[in-house]
Subunit: 446 residues, 2 copies
Amino acid sequence: MELQAALGEGNDARLAAVVAALQPADLAAFLSAEGRNDPALAEQLLAHLTLSERARAFGYLDATLQARVAARLSPTALARLLGKMDADERADLFKLVNEDVQEAALRQMAREEREDLRRLASYEEGTGGALMTSDYVAVPENLTVAAALQAVRSTAPDAETIYQVYIIDHEHRLQGTVSLRELILGLPDQPLDELMRTELVTGQVDTAQEEVARLISRYDLLALPILDADQRLVGIVTHDDAMDVAAEEATEDMHKAATIGKLHRGIGQSGLLELYRKRIVWLVLLVFANILSGFGIAHFEATIEAYIVLVFFLPLLVDSSGNAGSQAATLMVRGLATGDVQLRQWGRHFGRELLVAGALGLTMAAAVSILGVLRGGPDIAFVVATSMIAVVIMGSLIGMSLPFLLSRVGWDPATASAPLVTSIADAVGVVLYFSIATATLGLPGA
Amino acid sequence: MELQAALGEGNDARLAAVVAALQPADLAAFLSAEGRNDPALAEQLLAHLTLSERARAFGYLDATLQARVAARLSPTALARLLGKMDADERADLFKLVNEDVQEAALRQMAREEREDLRRLASYEEGTGGALMTSDYVAVPENLTVAAALQAVRSTAPDAETIYQVYIIDHEHRLQGTVSLRELILGLPDQPLDELMRTELVTGQVDTAQEEVARLISRYDLLALPILDADQRLVGIVTHDDAMDVAAEEATEDMHKAATIGKLHRGIGQSGLLELYRKRIVWLVLLVFANILSGFGIAHFEATIEAYIVLVFFLPLLVDSSGNAGSQAATLMVRGLATGDVQLRQWGRHFGRELLVAGALGLTMAAAVSILGVLRGGPDIAFVVATSMIAVVIMGSLIGMSLPFLLSRVGWDPATASAPLVTSIADAVGVVLYFSIATATLGLPGA
């Protein structure tokens, strides 16, 4: 990459030119890359940018790198940088540095800025309050279009988006919104009230961040206004942050589906100990779940000893049950997450699953019965085929129902991970299989 | 819900008021809900809206419902509706209706509009071309800020976003972009060249839609300009469409992780036959993969007959191997999808996985060895503990490597689904377990 080459040359003028030509996100990705992550290098390269570009690139850096660079800066330099950052990113960084740095930086700020920062940094992680920025454009009621446009112009350099304008009353309660497009197309002395929309989609400071992202996505919003408990406008969440949240939530759900706990950083940046911790919990829990299958098998030891060929089909049957179950669970978990499936529809989905799983079971029974005849004769084939139908239907219904059940008791439905469903389906499958076998084949000594 | 009540009353004035107060996305969701999905009802309710609101709500309807409503409209009414829809949604709808409806609607349109529609409808699904809209604001080079603002005002009613303005040369090649914010803050007779950004992030008509979404997310764009093979600007993809694509891709990856094929609609709307088809393929393929485990077991039948207690630990060991493997696979699949893990880093991640899996294996071996002593004595405990370490490490390394391998041969790494990894890890686990058992315990007859 060009930047790498310019760094190697040590030609400062060329380096400055290369850095200035990069997108801030790309420069930040270069600096945050694993194995690099060097605060001195970050400081050196960021120095080639103007203050506002530097603030922008800085906001894209990995959080720990941000904190390490911030710790190297003088309080004045840090306060200047914080002043140019978006209010939401500023609050995020503020939470990461130690108290001395916080205090030193706060002393350099204007009172209003300081209070805004303290307030933004006070909301709980994962809520609309923690996600929002206070850099929005709000204008009072009863303005004309021309006056509103003038207000937009005077706020524009600082606001994160000027394309949605929020109209507030004297107590800062949100009355309506108007887009910059509508303002530009309006007549200069037209009253704002005529243009503004009053059917508003809003979030609260304590709305969960995935719900904030869902609202922005569903209504195709540029930004979602966030209100406090008294319905006062306190911030907005912009579309780009919503997109990041949606990606983060999707990653979390995928990890959950494979029994991996929440990682704070990407897999590439996560420490080995953290990876171990996030993986071991469910692996050990599932060991105990799988002991159930073991007891199932132990209970049928006599049947197994009499018909050892049954063991050949064991992994095939229990895995099929688990696979069909994790398919059903995944469909429901994702359906519930996207709002495509409603909690009250359990009965309808149970019926549909029964039909689909029945068809799946029949197809797979046909596939394995040939193998059954070849390896064990017609009796074994009958046992294997019947068991296949039974275990696929049972596994599917368990997988499909578990997310609903977890939701009902207040758990995240994504906890119905493939391994959990597989473990439960396995234990049930073992019992079904050997029960059918014992009933059909009989026990030699019995 | 209020709309439901108003429908029941049959009071037309009240119905009109309720419909007008709804967000278009909510009205569309009501009409598209499963069990409703009635084109006559949709036509009736949409009639209460102004043409542009109707076009907006219509664009949110489920695709099949859109097509069914469109088929009921007269060619003139359809052409009027199409004329008010966003260009990208118009093209999507156009592809869904039959040729007679297409021809009738096309005849009602102006030549330019017709060509634009034909062109947009011609791009392959899943590309930047199919996703983009042609309703953007482009202005020629060498304008002043005032002239550019005037151009924006005259395009504003039709453009999907006016907040990014694209500057093109006489051959329609993209020269730069300027934001409406910069225009509003600029001096009226300042030349555009001074304001515009020339380091551009762009996509091509054949760029995959997930890459388009990734670019918009990475660079926090409002819209991504799309160029044709001659670098001419032909459209833009807006942030809201990118968010939809990202959600769609996440759903697809989650489904793939559970061996479910691509569904065209959500689970609630999908037909039973389609669900069957999308699930059966891998279930049957995996049956054959699981036969490998069966053969592994068959090979060790003598050992099993001699030490029947070994079967008790079988599900526990092979499931642990599969669970650790699907954790590792999921981490890599998601890491590769988000760009957090690079293909060339296989070696580094292999090393890291070896350390983490080693620690996981040791912990789990400790957990099962107690059970081993209780059920089979110290020899069995030794076999089970050693096997646990071996199968967890093997399963993890297989799970972690498979996504890289699939990527290298040009497959989607998400094909490394939990069930596939589990099946492979199971077969390897069976062989490892019984080999260790045979070596440690010996065979009675041998």
